[in-house]
Symmetry: D2
Subunit: 283 residues, 4 copies
């Protein structure tokens, strides 16, 4: 089966669902799945519709062109994506391997709605795993003294990889503002705390110091405000007084890798709409 | 705001969503919330739509009448319910008070989309709580020797209460088949295990004997097959080797009361469609 | 069975467990349950031992007296408590009833290792529930203009109740520093967020604004630093984009009441030792 | 630091803890961690003590020898294990790779208190992963017609590997009774359901058919009764009506791999005592 996904955000209006579903029907499209969300405070309507594109009586290009009239009438922000297109995933990592190995294995088993096209790292710890999975890896160290040059090299490499989505799999470096802007809502980070608690460095130490009874992980889009981008997915696990910072770090790895994989998969399946620094996740 | 809820089950067909949303639009109805589910194996489509009934240009009765044509064309099973109607809840209980007290308090705080109209019990433990909350309570003991008479009395009392939904809040008695049939998908039970594990009596003993590491509770519709009706909601909590059957019983009470309240609320809000002894819960 | 609980904190030392268990053995005491915790960073040892006091060949007073020598040798902070003593619980509340009703019902069913001896409230919403459960309730409004007088009245009332533990069941008022000091590690609060996220007022609004995917509740000892006291217990539940602040508030009530009840019960059973603004919970 | 772990099961007796801790003290041993459990129904006492073996004034062999007297007096079943010994782990798998890849990565990152020494598989899907991690792998197909021979070969290979623990990482074949007996409490299986629900083949299909709202995984010791061995660890995740058997299978993989890793780690750290087909897990 061939699927395309229509995502819409627009001011709430009478007859919206009727109009859109009527339009899809007229193009011959069969609706496989549909999610709506009305933001009552802001009077905004959000929709995600999966259409069986085999049933369309027109090409996807024509569908897009025809839909523009509807979109204009209702002041829609919208996008249509072809589910058969495998989004190009670039992984950026550092020393920690757990998230990278986990994503690589999912890619290998074809569980992701996308494909990993490269690994870019500021340490050399990931090259072995990348090699196993036959994924090109690039090693660009970032040093305080040569930071501007290093970041320029990184930008350059990213451009060469031409990714659709960049995954910071415990990359541990701040991403320059231009990159954040250029890949807006396309850079996904895993932060090893239950945000907004414990922003910044060494959240497990902070969690241990505060004596929390649960630790967590947060998968979010990267913005230029560190750890403050829109949250896609979060999860937690229970800890107790006997768990040291080192224990938490180990235990947290499982939450990190699974939360990242979930959040990434939502993104790859076009399930996420960002509004007001928050996400609507149609899952 | 005034809301009505349209629930539909029918064979999957091209243009279904378009047809239904177009119909609602033509009656002036504004869609506040919509959920769909396509059962691919059985080629069945399920829908739940919340409509702002204030915007309708016809009465709800007329809406129903007009919709019959659409429903017939697509062989729909459907129902339309007025959210302003407070469903009449009859609680049946026994000795345990935790679920009853919890539901009573929710009712008192007007958290339920319905109202508790009575308590029917085979022991006298619940009358005090019922009195506090000014809810009529009836005490009908069930004895082995007089079982048929007792059950007839119970049926009679239920009829007098004329409930929309019956909640077995740890009632611990088997419900006669005629009652199950008469109140099909209208009797909700809380079973104190994670079904299908530990069907029948004393599931905490069984959980303790088997040495499981999580215990749970299951909220389900009652059918004549004990503990085998469609599951509405389930949850679990962690236990360990130090927890005796008595500990589990205590710990389990919190899961029971919250799982029951959740499942009941889904029912009261017309979020549940039963198909093939399973539930679709649009939440 | 009659139980006493021995809680010990002291610098780690060779032979500690041997010494303590040998001492208990010599007094004829049988150990029913024992928990240890070694804080490696601070080289501190914590112990909780449940002793069957029926087996003691001396009175509890003598046991205490005799133990002082051991305690002195190892520089122990320690306490011995008689489990048969029902700790006196004073509840302080405001408008919200869910935590109060839940605790009252647990008390009524004798699930708590303590007894509720009074309700003190700054609004009149709780008097009805208190009356049902035959618990004295006092209503002391707190107004900005008469705050000092009001707080003096409250202190006075608390003194009259002579509680062993004070539970702030969504009391929503700041507790004066002298009270915090006087009832150090004896005032338990439930905060309606997963601390340290969303300290202060209206955490559900803040959670909604930040777009978190889980909301939580935190049961902690009250110190003069608002929402920064030692955490006893925490829990979370999942929310999504469709859940408004009001939805979160409702959903959160279940986590609040259960987390509070758990944390309180740990305290009542002398399972909690506070160290470094963190708790060791032996459960 | 060098640690040894003393595990004891025996009839409850007065002064047990005193005797054991006194003994350890006399050998110069410092207790780092201790857990007790009293099974009240069976009047049995279970203990796990971590001793800093560097502080011992005798060899571990002498400690063992000396302890025999104590053990005899109290009719103890006991074992002493040296934490520095890396238990030899043999993985048996089939087509599914998720658990194997996850364990291999943990081994590679030295997170396990043991080392993987081989992979034995009835299909050839795991050889690539084994090769990456430089672990010997053996491929022994099991066919209905040649089953006895195949099983003999497997037994033979296992003997050659000489493992301390065998992990069935979704091996999907029944283990012959002799092997179960020979490696009693040393074969760990991951079953892809929340046992005792959905014993046997294709539990995700059964879960889907029954319409449960949570699916789970169970890590247990293998006995000759299929899926009925002592449970070490379990966990669950939420599913809903939209999740097909295939979705559950995918979602379940994360629970499977983490539950298996947890259960295995408990075993490797000698945290598990089996009694009455149940486990005491001191964690």
């Amino acid at each position: 089966m061939s699927i395309c996904r229509l995502l819409i955000s627009c001011p709430d209006a009478h007859g919206l669902v009727a109009k859109v579903s009527q339009f899809i029907f007229e193009q011959g499209g069969n609706i496989k799945e549909a999610h709506h969300h009305l933001d009552d405070d802001n009077k905004l309507f959000f929709m995600r519709i999966e259409i069986d594109s085999m049933t369309l009586n027109c090409s996807i290009d024509e569908f897009q062109k025809n839909f523009q009239k509807v979109a204009k009438t209702y002041q829609m922000s919208w996008r249509l994506s072809d589910a058969s297109y495998q989004k190009r995933i670039l992984i950026m990592g550092s020393k920690a391997t757990h998230c990278v190995a986990d994503l690589m294995h999912r890619d290998h088993e074809q569980e992701l709605d996308g494909k990993i096209i490269g690994v870019l790292s500021n340490h050399n710890h990931l090259s072995k795993i990348a090699k196993w999975y036959e994924v090109p890896s690039v090693h660009i160290p970032v040093n305080q003294e040569t930071k501007d040059d290093d970041l320029a090299k990184i930008s350059n490499e990213i451009e060469k990889f031409n990714p659709d989505v960049i995954v910071l799999a415990r990359y541990m470096q701040i991403i320059p503002e231009e990159l954040c802007d250029k890949y807006r809502e396309k850079i996904i980070n895993i932060h090893h705390s239950f945000l907004p608690s414990f922003i910044g460095a060494d959240p497990y130490q902070k969690a241990s110091d505060r004596g929390v009874k649960l630790i967590g992980a947060t998968c979010h889009y990267v913005t230029s405000n560190l750890d403050e981008g829109p949250i896609i997915e979060q999860d937690v696990i229970r800890v107790d007084h006997a768990d040291s910072r080192e224990d938490m770090k180990k235990m947290g790895q499982d939450v990190e890798k699974i939360t990242l994989a979930k959040g990434l998969q939502y993104h790859l399946q076009d399930r996420v709409i960002v509004f007001n620094n928050k996400t609507i996740v149609f899952n």
